[in-house]
Amino acid sequence: MTGIDPAIRDAVLAAIPSLRAFAISLSGNVDRADDLVQETMLRALANIHSFQPGTNMSAWLFTILRNLFRSEYRKRRREVEDADGSYADSLKSQPEQSGRVEFEEFRTALAKLPPDQREALILVGASGFSYEETAEICGCAVGTIKSRVNRARGRLAQILAIESADDFGPDRETRAVLTE
């Protein structure tokens, strides 16, 4: 075969916007995310023979990206993310100040989740994968994904509840105790 099969090339191209969104949600940094996407494309095309035609190309690409991120994460655990704010700068449609603050709060809260919970929540809640597809991407049981998503939602609610309670001042300690 010469060149890249046009159908595969088109499928890879079509997946790029959501692969980037997933990578940015995982890493919190646009440059790292784009490097991850590029590495994913290179791996995918180098291993295209291991892709089974007729199966979900998007899920296959997400699996590659997820595994790349996880191996990178193990190397750079707990690095301070997005110190230069490049991610925030890249997002244009948050004109309203209170919206921006909320958005930043959410992003910070998301970053506090353990990676296995964060990836499960994003794949189910934003990428639109089913629990079954998400389980396949993450290489674990469907029940594990369901419990990770539930824990992620609970933890985010806890973090965001405490933060919004902060806005009202005096209630803070009470609420922190209640949501502990």
């Binding site: 890249i4 916007p17 590029q38 494309m41 244009k92 998301l110 809640g125 609610a157 965001l160 209630d171």
Partner: protein, 58 residues
């Protein structure tokens, strides 16, 4: 957030509001990136790989 929020709000109400918000924020953040489309670097990379593969094919 909601300025009219009073202590009368139960934690359960707060929980539902927050869950709704979490879903919205998650999708908003994600869709914002998706809407940026395909950056040139990726289209160019694919083109380069395509050309190279063609050049290497025997």
């Amino acid at each position: 957030m909601n300025k009219s929020m009073t202590p009368a709000h139960t934690d359960a109400t707060l929980g539902r509001e927050i869950q709704h918000k979490i879903g919205e924020q998650l999708r908003a953040q994600y869709d914002e990136v998706v809407s940026q489309g395909i950056p040139d670097r990726f289209a160019e990379l694919l083109k380069r790989l395509d050309d190279r593969n063609e050049g290497e094919a025997s």
